[in-house]
Every structure is written in C-alpha cells, then in structure tokens.
C-alpha cells in the first residue's frame, strides 16, 4: 500500500499537518518514506480535487493542510475497498 494520495489522506484523518509532519507521520505509521517531490505532487492533486485544503497558519512558510468532507468520504470509500481486499485475500490464503 503505497498510494501517496491515500497515505496523505490517512495521515490527515487525525488532524491538520504540514508537509514535513506528513512525511514523518507517514513513515511512522506506514513505513513508507515519501520523497518531497512525490509528497507535494500528491498534495497538489488532492488539493485540486478538493479532498484537502490549506488552513491558516501562524507560520507563513509551513502550510498545514486539513481533510475536507469530500476527502473524508473518499478516504472512507478507499479504506472500505481495501478492507474487502484484505479480508478476501486473508480468507483465500487460509483455504490454500
């Protein structure tokens, strides 16, 4: 599971984060280190789709992002689909 967009959405699910905090959090919970180019490429696409949005910050250089309602719905859908795949795969592995 290394879709950068999904990892970012999952990371933002527990609170707003800026780029560096996202990078650290994703490495901690998924064991995936997103390069800066990949991370900001994904942030750009999520922002354009309206799944995340920039929020006001006291630090004008570090820009935190928050999950939008649309982004939350998309994340839930993706996680449900993944859950189904995990369950099916696990069950089939047991029967082999």
């Amino acid at each position: 599971m290394s879709d950068p967009g999904l990892l970012i959405l999952a990371s933002l699910a527990d609170g707003d984060k800026h780029g560096y905090a996202l990078m650290e959090d994703i490495e901690a919970f998924a064991g995936v280190r997103l390069g800066p180019g990949t991370l900001y490429g994904a942030i750009t696409r999520l922002d354009e789709r309206g799944w995340i949005r920039a929020v006001a910050s006291s630090n004008d250089r570090r820009q935190p992002y928050t999950l939008t309602a649309l982004g939350r719905t998309h994340l839930q859908e993706q996680l449900s689909a993944l859950e189904k795949i995990v369950k099916t795969g696990t069950r089939r592995l047991r029967t082999v």
């Binding site: 800026h18 560096y20 390069g35 180019g37 991370l39 900001y40 490429g41 750009t44 250089r61």
Partner: protein, 213 residues
Amino acid sequence: MKWVALQLLRLYPKAWRERYGTEFEALLQDARLRPADLVDILKEVFQMRLRDVGVFALLSGIGLASGLSFAAAIPDVWVARSTVTLDGKDGAIYNAVSKALSRRTLLEIIERNNLYAVERKNQSIESVVEQMQRSIIVGTSEAGTIPLEYRYRDKQLGSQAMHEIVQIPDPDRSPRIVYIQDEKPWLRTAMPFVGLGFGVLCWILFRKKRSAI
C-alpha cells in the same frame, strides 16, 4: 544536498511555484534529504511538465481534428459560367433565358443528367427544381449577351447542365463553358487553423484556471 534541491525547485512550472513554492521550500529546509530525493523531485517535475505538454497536445489535437472534420464536411462547389447571345432586343433574350430556366426545362435537364440524385430521394421534385433555379444566377444583359452562372457540386455534371441551358435559346451554338471552383477552398484551408487556434486558446484558459486554484 539542500542547495541542489532548492535549485531544482526552479524547474517546476511557474504557476505551481507561485502556489506551493514557499511551503515546498520549507519542507526541503526541514527534511533530512537523501540523494534519492533529488531524483524524486526531478521525476515529479518531469511528470508535471509532461502533463502540461499532454494537455496542450490533447486540446490542440482535438481542435485540429475538429477543424479538419469541418473542412472535410464542406462540400465541393463548382461554378460553371457561360453566356447566352441572341440577335435582337434585350427583352427577347430575357424571354429566351426565362424559357431555358423554366421548371419544365430544368426538370428535363435534371433527369437527363441525373443531377441532385441525393436530394431527389429525400425531397419533392418541385423543391429540387427550385434549388436548381436558386443555383443559377442570371447576369445583366450587355450588347445582346447575358452571362449565366450555375453552382453545382460536380464539375462535369454542372458544366454539362450549363451547356444544355445555354443551348436552349440557340441550339446551333457551341457555347464556351468556363468552370471554376467556388470561393469555398479558402474556408477549407482556414478551418484546421481555426480549430488548432481554438484548441490552443482552450489550453491557455485551462492553464489560467489551473494557476488560479
């Protein structure tokens, strides 16, 4: 490493740098960068540039293809020109031309030369004859000569029809038919360029909209 990464930031599209440049720079300053990160940045720059080129190619391609389709859909029109010459007064000449362009005469010419084959299948014969009448332009009489023009999509058939029309007042005369292609070719040439221009315009608007996000 950081210095190189910060230089690579310049390779991003201007609109992207204006929107995300400052925060991306902050990330590059904060993160512990590895050599692989430089490749990662270059890869993203390349993809972003490629997307721009892709959108440009797609929109201009659609515009060009539409223009070419419109150009191909413009029918060929040929103009056959000739004159009717009769000794006598202008009134007599006009009468002779009127007879040549009468419904009955044109109907005979249509049937003999199989003109307007498609239209005859879909429309009444009266409207086909009217269409032919509208395609014939009678000029002003000058020294016993009246110029005639007939527009038709087939050069040979149009020319033959005109030949028969001008022979009706004077069957012994061997008329000279001049045919030229209608002025439409410039439109056919212009259409692809108009389509391409429209595609490029859409791309410019698309870029403006994207940079406004």
